[in-house]
Symmetry: C2
Subunit: 669 residues, 2 copies
């Protein structure tokens, strides 16, 4: 591929996309940096309830609680939703022409063009704005979320009157402050309506302290003009701190204004209330005396460092090349790196999945960081360590006298899934975390992490399995270690006994504990003592691991997803209209559970992670059995199928799966 083509494939241009839905576009072009994320919405929308998009700023880990209402509530159910907060859109601009204001009457906004330069992280957009009286303005935005300083987001506006000359007034203000709202009933996008509290702070630029009501968190948000044009005036006369630009524009001539936003760290409400003066000072220091271009240069430099370490080049397939870069770009910009946050399932592009962290981090995203950015990988695992006490509490609440039971979906470490068959029951997350820790340590040899955090994570999850499972007495499970009533990766089966993947991963988890304990016994014996590890405990781990039951159908020679899985009817795929996928949006869960149908790779995940477990023939049988049953209704499915197809030398299929997977977001499939 020529250099220009390679350059080209760093550009995500509007013409690359067929879907022009506003919500889709603002998500695809969202910019983030692990701490903050901003949707690329209509800059005039603000909190107007247009039928367009959902503009907003999202801060990783900044959430509020809301009470969960159950149809029928039972003991031990989570009490609260945790929902990432939707903060004011920093792209927001109010335009006033002829006494008409865009926050009072709707100005028509047409997207003319968008282009994201993934190489530097700069997003350029061009809008055509028509006032109710027919005056046309061209508005272009250049924006970036700083990769050099994760508190910073900058926006540069250029405004040009097309069919008139005259007075135009601009306002940079945020009169509204909202919690997440959604428009539809899609269960994957839950809607909450907590109100955030806002307090303007005393400064010569607009600044506010934003706090949540129930989670009691706070942060400081400020913005300032990055330039020296005296036309831009700070004004707080009416109690609403803002910048006002009173312009006299000439037809065809443009004026530009740059603004920088600084979003502080998350603190407790009490802390931020007491120390906001200091925090505001800190925030301001990141922006004061900086220009858009100096800030951008720093950020772009970091972005280029990222590409230097992480780029994947695919020759001969420009679409896939662009796609993989898009994926890498989002992966990079979504990952929390402060050890207190992780990667929300939808990145920092909005409130999808409520900004929660799942096993997606450890099993699907972490490996990329382990090999390209070990510091980030360590930060992500540190987040889990940070929630270890909460996981211990969960285990005690569940009646286990030892070990840790991690939340299936969470921000603050507490379980936030209101539907336990696809929540708490997905206990494989505990082994996933242990697996990820070992993978990290193995690749990086970060002994410091192992001793300080990693071993404890592996040990406490091993202790969980020891207590959560038990020895069977009946049938082929008799005398074997069984793990009952769990949900594996495939959420179209739930509350099953002996999910293959779960049991195999638990076995691995137990063995990891034994093996690292042996290692630490030599290097850091005090650590074992501190954690109360005894020889007897390790022997028990070994015994359980050796006794672990995994279901297998001898006649078919196939690893069985769980006890009884093969006695379910095959899902009637031929009677399932194409529009009824993903199935979970169209069929009662009990109907899905009663059939052999996979949302995503499940048993095959085990084949993937433990290549030494099976020869190529076994892998083929497993693959051939599960492939026709799998709907890939989760985006976590196709990549696994691709890798395994590759292993069984089905290269064409492998390529198709990975290509589809890479383009999932861009094609909105």
């Amino acid at each position: 591929m020529a250099i220009s083509e390679q350059k080209q494939s760093f550009q995500l241009h509007l013409q690359d996309l067929t879907n022009r839905n506003a919500s889709f576009l603002e998500t695809i072009y969202a910019l983030a940096n692990g701490h903050l994320g901003v949707r690329a919405s209509n800059p005039l929308q603000g909190n107007l309830r247009l039928d367009e998009g959902m503009p907003g700023l999202f801060v990783n880990g900044f959430y509020d609680l809301s009470h969960i209402t159950y149809g029928e509530s039972y003991a031990g159910y989570p009490e609260n939703n945790q929902t990432i907060a939707q903060l004011p859109d920093p792209r927001y601009l109010v335009i006033e022409v002829d006494g008409e204001r865009s926050d009072q009457t709707t100005f028509a906004t047409r997207v003319v063009d968008k282009n994201l330069d993934m190489e530097t992280g700069l997003l350029n957009e061009l809008f055509e704005i028509t006032t109710p009286s027919g005056k046309i303005l061209q508005l272009s935005l250049s924006t970036f979320a700083s990769q050099a300083d994760d508190g910073i987001y900058c926006v540069s506006y250029t405004i040009r009157p097309i069919n008139f000359s005259g007075a135009v007034k601009l306002y940079k203000q945020h009169p509204y402050i909202d919690q997440v709202f959604t428009r539809d009933g899609d269960i994957r996008a839950v809607s909450r309506n907590n109100i955030l509290d806002r307090q303007f702070l005393n400064a010569d630029f607009p600044a506010m302290q934003i706090t949540t009501q129930r989670s009691q968190l706070g942060l400081v948000l400020m913005w300032r003009y990055l330039g020296e044009d005296s036309l831009v005036k700070f004004d707080r006369s009416d109690g609403m701190p803002k910048y006002v630009m009173d312009l006299d524009l000439q037809q065809g001539l443009a004026e530009s204004f740059d603004f920088g936003y600084s979003v502080g760290r998350i603190h407790s409400l009490m802390d931020v209330a007491m120390n906001h003066t200091q925090y505001l000072k800190n925030a301001n220091a990141h922006l004061e005396h900086h220009s858009f271009s100096t800030l951008f240069t720093e950020s772009a430099h970091k972005m280029q460092e990222f590409w230097h370490n992480s780029d994947i080049r695919i020759d001969g397939d420009p679409e896939t090349q662009k796609g993989i870069r898009f994926n890498l770009f989002h992966l990079h910009q979504s990952a929390g790196h402060d050890g207190k946050t992780s990667i929300p399932a939808k990145g920092l592009t909005g409130a999808g999945y409520e900004g929660h962290y799942f096993w997606d981090t450890e099993m699907f995203m972490l490996p990329a960081f382990i090999y390209t950015d070990p510091q980030m990988a360590r930060a992500l695992l540190t987040y889990r360590y940070h929630t270890l006490d909460e996981a211990r509490r969960q285990a005690r609440d569940f009646g286990l006298d030892g070990g840790a039971m991690f939340a299936w979906r969470t921000i603050n470490g507490m379980e936030a899934s209101p539907y336990f068959p696809a929540g708490l029951a997905a206990v494989h997350i505990n082994a996933d975390i242990a697996y990820a820790v070992a993978e990290y340590v193995q690749v990086t040899d970060d002994q410091d992490f192992l001793v300080k955090m990693g071993f404890e994570l592996i040990l406490e999850t091993a202790r969980f399995w020891q207590r959560f499972g038990s020895f069977g007495i009946d049938g082929p499970q008799g005398g074997k270690f069984v793990i009952n009533k769990v949900t594996g990766p495939d959420e179209y089966s739930a509350m099953v006994n002996n999910n293959y993947y779960t049991n195999r991963m638990a076995q691995h988890n137990l063995r990891l504990a034994v093996s690292y304990a042996k290692q630490l016994k030599k290097s850091h014996p005090s650590k074992l003592e501190e954690l109360g590890v005894t020889e007897k405990e390790l022997q028990s781990f070994t015994h359980i691991a050796d006794s672990m039951y995994v279901p297998f159908d001898k006649e078919l020679g196939v690893k069985m997803q769980d006890d009884g899985a093969f006695n379910m009817e095959i899902w009637p795929f031929d009677q399932t209209p194409r529009d009824n996928y993903p199935l979970l949006l169209h069929y009662h869960p009990m109907r899905l559970y009663r059939h052999q149908v996979n949302k995503q790779a499940d048993t095959l995940m085990s084949d993937l992670l433990f290549p030494a477990d099976q020869d190529i023939e076994q892998l083929k049988r497993d693959f051939d059995y599960y492939e026709p049953l799998t709907t890939h209704d989760s985006s976590l499915s196709r990549p696994i199928f691709s890798i395994l197809a590759h292993r069984i030398l089905a290269h064409h299929k492998a390529y198709r799966y990975i290509a589809e997977s890479i383009l999932t977001d861009l094609n909105n499939s």
Copy 2:
């Protein structure tokens, strides 16, 4: 036992009860007649939110809908709660002394005495009332719900000033009208607040049309003075129709006033709105020219008829004698007999379980009627037939191309359980209904019912099993008919494969269909044609029944509750504090599901219903296995254990179980 002792055991006197909690007492002493039920509450409470009871009139099958909010909602979930409506308490009385009114300031009300004469159905109560200014009145109530005319409820008040002479004013009015409310502050608890609509009707007595908002039902409710005292005046001058009694009482001397209530049938809102004049006329005809004593005599006569047919005498154990009569009394007064209603799980004593009908009717209560009141039994089965179309719709919605799938809990025939693992998944209800139909037909030889309704119920449920189950391919289930992911009677296990009871009952259901089809083929061949029964279908039923898989542990020689049941850990009973029963209120369902612990008889229900299935040794093994695992957290459990204990000649145990069971309500255990 002497006759006086026998008489005595028809009296339920306050001194028989140790629990004096207001809510408990008003439930125990509730009076009903299958159509209406009235709680024996403080007659001055009305809609005052005292911390006492929940007064109200409940009409069987008169419910409103309310939207169900789910923590996480999925396709196919029920949209609405169905909740029995709470209508104005007909016992309600307002007393005015010295300008102070009992509906404006709280008058202290002390329960002095209560006695229910179960032989006639008359409830006598004595209250001592103290006004805020210290005047004391004795108020006694005699009430009955007519067993002769189920629209009628009568109340006789006797009032006597104890420490004063002077003016006392009484009002019989119902200024409030409420849907069910609960006091529980926990907003997760089921609480509905639909407002009923009320419209006063034009008459020379107080009358109203009451309609629900979302279910669009209506009925006419009226009351009139049953006497000729000119002191009792009808008054509608202020828009609130009422009776006013302006009395001048002499210390120690009593005055009495009798009132009759007539509660019309349930109609559609439209119907009742158009025809309320006629319905009111009908209602009034039941009361006009009647006195309390003539109405009571008719009712008592019917009550005696009931005892004549249904009494159970237990000599030598007066407590149990009284208990069984109390049970019979409530059974009789709770059963809907119009073919459109059934028996709410808590009778007509309140809004517990929202007034829903469960399998309790067919499997636990119907047998009593089959043997003592076949007409009532037929009416109860007619209710199910009445909901058959809804059950067919449910089956189609669930993807089955034939058969009927009855709601687990319902009033109107639609599923109203918001938690499907203990709702829709309890599909055994379909076989329960078929079993009950056959039991009824076998005992009564009601061929008319069989042809008109019974066979269709059996056939459509057999068709359900044929489609809902499937043939297994793996393990001992290979080649056998399996029924996956269901919940049996024991709700401490859920979503299991091959629940013994369910499979055995389904097998019975299929065989019943074949056997009755063969019978009807001779007597009513056109019926088979009408229902599209083919020889091939019957052969399929037989084949499936013959192939039905039932799990059995060969080593233990015990019928296994479900696949994998015996590979669960035994519940840690020794670590379970006594206060933590019933377990479902204290432990996460997933914890219960992962253990061998039974809420109630499950597999043993099969042993009970199919005595020919096992010899006494097998029964003993089953009994001995399950008994220690069973908490009897459901009142449906001990009776089963009692009968089976009797069969294995454990007479002492049998007696203990049945005695505990009989006294469940009276001891509030």
